[in-house]
C-alpha cells in the first residue's frame, strides 16, 4: 500500500483529502506545517509527498527545498498543491524541487493520476543507480559589509567542493557578492544589522543540474530585482551608477525570484542551469544550521 505524506495546515482540507486518499487504497500520514513535513519526510520515508505551498513557519517551497537538499529524502516525489492558480507558482514550485504541481480545490481523479504516475517513476528510478547527492553549503552572518570576506570564503569553499570551472566560479563569486551586498546595504537600513543567510547548492538531482543561490534576511521588504537596470548603451556621462549589480545578477543567472512574507522575510533565489555539470569533489553537511549566530 503506497504511503503518502500530506502536508497541509488547513484542518478541513487535510481531513477531507486524507480520507478520500485512504478510500482509494493509500496509507496517509499528515503534517500540519512545513517543519513537521520535513521532519516526517525524514523519519517516515513516505513514497510520495503532497505539499501545500502556503504553510505557516517555513512554507511549502522551502520545505520542499530542504527535503530535496537532504540525500536521504531527495528521491521522494513531491507534488505541490496550491490554491493559487498563478502561472508563476508552478515555476516556483518546480524550481524549489517539486516534481509535479496541482491546484486546489482538488480534482481527485486528476490528482490520483499524477500520484500514480509519480509512484511509477519513483519505482523505475529506484531500480537505477542513484546519482550523487546534492551539494549544499550555507552560512548565517551579520549583514554588515565587513563580513563580505566570509561570503567570499563560503563561495570558495563551495567552488572547491563542487569542482566548478574557473569562469563559472568567477560568475558565482560576482553574483553572490552583488546579492549579499544588496542585503547588507538595504535590508536593515536605519537600524542595527540583522542576519543574512546564504545558501549555495549544486542540485545534481535537477535536470539540467542547477546551481542555486539563496539569500535571506529578516529586514524590511526589499526586492533587489525591482531596481531599474542602467541603459548600458548610454554614453559614460549619462550612465547611472546604480543597478549594475542587478543587471549582472540577471545576466549571469537563468532564473531570479524574490519573495517576502513575515515568517520567511526576504528570500532571493537565483538559479543557473548547468548543461555541462561539474563532478563534485567533496561533500558538505546538508543539515540546516541552528537559527542564529555566525557559523558555517
Amino acid at each position: 500500500m503506497p504511503h503518502l505524506l500530506l502536508v497541509e495546515d488547513n484542518e478541513l482540507n487535510r481531513d477531507m483529502l486524507s480520507r478520500r486518499l485512504e478510500r482509494k487504497g493509500h496509507r496517509v500520514s499528515v503534517a500540519i506545517d512545513g517543519l513537521q513535513g520535513v521532519a516526517l519526510a525524514h523519519s517516515a520515508r513516505p513514497d510520495l509527498i503532497l505539499m501545500d505551498l502556503s504553510l505557516p513557519g517555513i512554507d511549502g517551497w522551502e520545505a520542499t527545498r530542504r527535503i530535496k537538499a537532504d540525500a536521504t529524502t531527495r528521491a521522494i516525489p513531491v507534488i505541490a498543491l496550491t490554491a493559487h492558480a498563478m502561472s508563476g507558482d508552478r515555476e516556483r514550485a518546480l524550481d524549489a524541487g517539486c516534481d509535479d504541481f496541482d491546484t486546489k480545490p482538488v480534482d481527485l481523479p486528476r490528482l490520483l493520476a499524477k500520484i500514480e504516475a509519480r509512484l511509477a517513476d519513483g519505482h523505475a528510478q529506484a531500480a537505477q543507480t542513484a546519482g550523487p547527492a546534492p551539494l549544499r553549503v550555507e552560512r548565517t552572518l551579520q549583514a554588515r559589509l565587513e563580513r563580505l570576506p566570509l561570503v567570499h570564503e563560503l563561495v570558495d569553499e563551495f567552488t572547491g567542493q563542487a569542482g566548478l570551472a574557473p569562469a563559472l566560479a568567477h560568475d558565482l563569486r560576482l553574483v553572490v557578492e552583488e546579492a549579499c551586498v544588496n542585503v547588507m546595504r538595504h535590508a536593515y537600513a536605519g537600524g542595527p544589522p540583522g542576519d543574512l543567510g546564504l545558501a549555495l547548492e549544486l542540485d545534481t538531482a535537477a535536470r539540467p543540474v542547477a546551481l542555486r543561490i539563496t539569500v535571506r534576511d529578516q529586514g524590511q521588504p526589499f526586492d533587489p530585482l525591482s531596481v531599474p537596470v542602467p541603459d548600458i548603451t548610454a554614453p559614460a556621462e549619462q550612465r547611472a551608477v546604480g543597478g549594475l549589480g542587478v543587471l549582472l545578477m540577471r545576466r549571469l543567472t537563468d532564473r531570479q525570484d524574490h519573495r517576502h512574507d513575515p515568517a520567511s522575510g526576504n528570500v532571493l533565489t537565483l538559479v543557473k542551469f548547468l548543461h555541462d555539470p561539474p563532478a563534485p569533489r567533496g561533500r558538505a553537511d546538508p543539515t540546516p544550521p541552528p537559527p542564529s549566530g555566525e557559523r558555517t
Binding site: 567570499h152 569562469a167 560576482l174 551586498v181 548600458i232 548603451t233 554614453p235 551608477v241 549589480g245 543587471l247
Partner: protein, 114 residues
C-alpha cells in the same frame, strides 16, 4: 588590494594588484580622485593583476572616467584579464571606456594622433 602610480610622461599609470570588491572599492575611488585632483588628467588603469572585480570596482572606474573627461582628460584601461574583460563587456563598459591589450598601447593612445 594594492594601488601604485607611475608617471609615464603626461600619463599616470595606476596599477591595481588584487581583487576589487565592495569592501575595498572605496580605496580605488580615493586613489583615482587624488590623482585627478593633483592634476593627472590622463590616466591608465593597469588591470593585469586584477583577477576579479565586482560592480563596486566598475562604479569607481566610471566615476573617475566622468571626472577625467569633465577636466579634459580621460581614463583608459589596460591588460584586463579575461574574467574582468567579460564583466566589463556584460556591463557595457567596453562601449564607454577605451580598453587596450597592454599598458604601452594605452599610454601611447594619449599621444597626439594616438
Amino acid at each position: 588590494m594594492n594601488i601604485t602610480a607611475t608617471p609615464q610622461g603626461p600619463v599616470t599609470v595606476v596599477a591595481i594588484d588584487g581583487s576589487v570588491d565592495s569592501l575595498n572599492a572605496e580605496q580605488l575611488t580615493q586613489a583615482l580622485t587624488e590623482h585627478l585632483a593633483a592634476g593627472c588628467r590622463q590616466l591608465v588603469v593597469d588591470l593585469a593583476a586584477v583577477p576579479y572585480t565586482s560592480t563596486a570596482g566598475l562604479r569607481a572606474l566610471l566615476a573617475a572616467v566622468k571626472d577625467s573627461r569633465r577636466l579634459g582628460g580621460d581614463l583608459r584601461l589596460a591588460a584586463a584579464q579575461a574574467s574582468v574583460e567579460r564583466v566589463l563587456s556584460l556591463s557595457g563598459f567596453t562601449g564607454i571606456i577605451k580598453t587596450y591589450r597592454g599598458v604601452t598601447e594605452a599610454v601611447a593612445s594619449f599621444a597626439p594622433g594616438g
